[in-house]
């Protein structure tokens, strides 16, 4: 992308800069001589009876420094950008600087991640430093969609419920994070039939998970389920190869109730998770994947239990392990009893 709208501006800037530098030196030379008109070091004029203006010489070191700054400016402009669009002999750019910083950061972090690279997910989940890094990576990269606690919200999967759209094995999680996912359900209304057929089918789907449903309508919708079984499986158990959710559990990513199911059948879904390969190195992806994997191992049910908090504290400890053990051995008072 060009710096200026028209190429002539670059020349204008370059010429102005050069002229200004030359003008500074010219000014210095032109002012170098002064006339002595009075013998008391003043300009010779008197105002208001006794006000005079001194005409002191400038210290020579000041002039020398001034010249040095002009010389420095000339050298700088040769090496760095400043004369219009000219990039300078060193080829410095701020994006290049950023890249250098990032490379240096990666080199500094490499030994840390090298240690993690050789660890299995269970070991990573038990390692305090790994989980600390994993949590920080998660909070920076993933929490925008999946929430700071990783439990998601409507349309953004809950990573802690041990229910996986694409598979919950560690390697699958790594693949999901690296390449992203596109959860696409095509609109099925045409294949199902009329609007009433769609509603019946929705009731049947609700019945699969023992959610509140209308039994007669569900019966009528049952034969229509064949078109759904192609992706969602015979009993609606889901298909992780396709990312098709398990319809027979109580976890509803896109909302619960007939309206949500009807909308899914009629309009379909296209839920996209962006690929994170651009944001994280493969080592980092591994660590954050281990963190995500550990989330679902820590959570048992949705209810708050003391055991859960203890497990969470054991799994994710801080820098001082001594304090951590004190924390877990003491009564976990991190939660308040229900009021």
């Amino acid at each position: 992308m060009a710096d200026f709208t028209a190429p002539g501006w670059s020349t204008f800037i370059a010429i102005s800069t050069a002229l200004s530098l030359i003008a500074c030196v010219v000014l210095l030379v032109l002012a170098a001589r002064r006339r002595v008109v009075a013998d008391d070091n003043t300009t010779g004029h008197v105002w208001d009876e006794d006000l005079r203006e001194m005409n002191n010489p400038l210290p020579r070191w000041w002039m020398v420094l001034f010249v040095l700054t002009v010389v420095f400016a000339a050298i700088y402009l040769a090496f760095y950008p400043g004369m219009g669009s000219r990039p300078g002999s060193l080829g410095w750019t701020s994006s290049g600087e950023l890249e250098k910083d990032q490379n240096r950061a990666r080199a500094e972090f490499a030994p840390i991640y090298a240690r993690f690279a050789s660890m299995a997910p269970e070991q990573l989940a038990a390692d305090a430093a790994a989980m600390g890094t994993g949590q920080r990576l998660f909070l920076n990269q993933c929490a925008q969609c999946h929430g700071s606690d990783g439990r998601g919200s409507k349309g953004f999967p809950n990573l802690g419920d041990n229910d996986w759209l694409w598979g919950g094995e560690f390697d699958t999680i790594v693949q999901t994070i690296t390449g992203g996912r596109i959860g696409n359900m095509p609109p099925m209304a045409a294949a199902v039939g009329s609007a009433q057929d769609v509603r019946n089918l929705a009731q049947y789907v609700l019945s699969l998970s023992d959610s509140p449903h209308d039994a007669p309508q569900a019966q009528m919708g049952k034969p229509k389920f064949a078109v759904c079984a192609a992706c969602h499986g015979a009993g609606g158990k889901g298909n992780t190869a396709l990312g098709a959710p398990n319809l027979s559990d109580k976890i509803w990513l896109h909302g619960r109730g007939e309206a949500a199911v009807t909308s899914a059948i009629t309009r379909g879904h296209n839920n996209v998770m962006p690929a994170q390969a651009r944001n994280m190195t493969p080592d980092q992806v591994r660590v954050v994947a281990a963190y995500v994997w550990s989330l679902s191992r820590a959570t048992v049910t949705t209810a708050v239990t003391n055991a859960e908090t203890t497990a969470a504290t054991t799994a994710t400890t801080t820098t001082t392990t001594a304090t951590a053990t004190t924390a877990t051995s003491a009564t976990p008072a991190n939660t308040t009893p229900p009021r």
Binding site: R35, G44, P57, P59, M63, Q144, T302, T323, A327, T336
Partner: protein, 476 residues
């Protein structure tokens, strides 16, 4: 000041113009060494300030350096105090206190900072002392400067610059030692393992010390420092300045003249010129108060010495107020004017701000906490109809002991708090802890949709708990 321009006899009708170069090399000022009461105070302050500056980085506290400004980790340690960048207000407070203190004692007694405590003066004093030890006293130095180069001169000058360079390097090293632990910095220097930035800063600060104290000296005071120029705003007629008592001293002259003109007795000033010789900025105080006078009182000391030899009372050049010098007031009148409105106002402001700063440091909480609503999730309904809101708790441990925290929520009937991370912070550590507040479906229905105000109580066990306001959203 600088060399006066060669005088021309300016006859009004026939102005002879002489064209000279605007940029003049300032003559080197070789101040004469002086001993006396005020010189003693100046040296006492040199010792005091430099003992603190050079000594403080070597002190230890809890196995770490007592005074350390760790820029990389963004923590600033001052003995037991752990300061975060969020605590910059204390630095601001300190600067305000310094400014008002400066205004106060300048209004009362003139340029005390310049003459006694300013680093420029202090380092110039140290470098001058080195110069006088190696090159000799004033006359010897002037003669040597005028002499041609010889082995002796080379050795003396070279030795002096070497000594200056060593002091400058040690100063630079100490300065960087406030930001990198000085012991490990010393090891790095010894083993040639200095990082590029450390080397740069040590070199820069050393160069600045060497240049300012060795070469520039009074040029800083005369041309660079703004303090000289706005002193007229801080002085008034009752400010103690260093002044020459004209009434007592004039007409000046050497005593040999005494006999020649008995009708015009001479004043106490014998025109020895010592007050000019000792002046580090090269002025003649007998011309009156000048911006270039830094108030070092060297002329006071030397003139008092001369007065002693002449067996006349001391104080021909003395600290006095302008009003006192003009009207020859006694000392008591001077004291009466010390507590004038300006001084009282400065003192009051100074006391208030110092008290505020001190109190706020004393009652500083042991931790800081911010509870922010999660940016990703506004509210979520989970299985069984419970409504959850997600928050991030940002904890900042202000102490060097690890802390644990307990979180409770108020203002929400039926609410449960669930931490989704360990509510702990290590020494001087800052961390995020995600947490969730959930209410049962009946409570959600009772509250109704929308945002409801709640308060978090975060309890660190070792201190009183802090309240943080937030909101809980029930989705439609």
């Amino acid at each position: 000041m600088t060399t006066p321009v060669p005088a021309t006899s300016a006859l009004p009708a026939n102005q002879r113009e002489e064209v000279i170069w605007l940029y003049q090399k300032s003559p080197k000022i070789q101040p004469r060494t002086v001993h006396g009461w005020f010189a003693g105070w100046r040296w006492a302050l040199v010792w005091a300030t430099q003992l603190v500056f050079y000594g403080l980085p070597w002190l230890l506290w809890n196995d770490r350096q007592a005074v350390l400004f760790d820029l990389e980790a963004r923590r600033f340690f001052i003995f037991g105090l752990v300061l975060y960048p969020q605590d910059f207000i204390y630095l601001t407070g300190l600067l305000i206190v310094s400014a008002y203190a400066l205004f106060l004692f300048t209004t009362v007694a003139g340029r005390l900072w310049c003459g006694y405590a300013c680093p420029q003066t202090v380092y110039t004093e140290i470098f001058l002392w080195i110069e006088s030890r190696i090159e000799g006293d004033r006359m010897q130095r002037i003669k040597r400067d005028a002499a041609s180069w010889s082995v002796q001169k080379l050795l003396r000058k070279g030795g002096k610059h070497l000594a200056w360079g060593t002091v400058a390097l040690w100063t630079g090293f100490t300065f960087v030692g406030y930001f990198t632990p000085i012991r490990s910095l010393g090891v790095a220097v010894w083993s040639f393992g200095l990082g590029p930035w450390q080397s740069f800063w040590i070199a820069l600060y050393s160069l600045a010390t060497y240049g300012n104290a060795g070469w520039l000296r009074e040029q800083v005071c005369l041309y660079m420092c703004p303090y000289a120029r706005f002193q007229s705003a801080m002085f008034d007629h009752d400010t103690l300045i260093i002044g020459y008592d004209e009434k007592r001293g004039e007409p000046r002259g050497t005593r040999a003249k005494r006999g020649t003109d008995a009708n015009r007795p001479l004043g106490d000033c014998i025109d020895c010129g010592l007050c000019v010789q000792v002046c580090p900025t090269g002025i003649d105080i007998r011309q009156g108060l000048q911006y270039a006078c830094i108030g070092c009182a060297a002329c006071v000391d030397v003139c008092d010495g001369v007065m002693d030899k002449m067996r006349t009372p001391r104080g021909l050049i003395r600290y006095d107020t302008q009003a006192g010098l003009e009207q020859a007031q006694p000392a008591s009148a001077r004291w009466n004017r010390v507590l004038r409105p300006r001084v009282l106002v400065y003192s009051a402001v100074l006391v208030v701000i110092t008290a505020a700063l001190g109190t706020s440091l004393l009652v500083r909480p042991t931790f800081r906490v911010d509870v922010e609503r999660d940016r990703g999730v506004m509210a979520r309904t989970v299985e069984d109809g419970w409504v959850e809101n997600v928050y991030r708790m940002h904890l900042m441990n202000n102490t060097e002991a690890p802390q644990r925290y307990r979180v409770a929520v108020q203002g929400l009937p039926g609410a449960q708090v669930e931490l989704r991370g360990p509510a702990q912070a290590g020494p001087a550590q800052a961390r995020w802890v995600p947490l969730v507040v959930r209410i049962p479906p009946q409570a959600a229905a009772a509250l109704g949709s929308g945002a409801h105000a709640i308060t978090f109580q975060i309890d660190p066990w070792t201190d009183s708990s802090r309240a943080e306001k937030s909101s809980f959203v029930v989705p439609r």
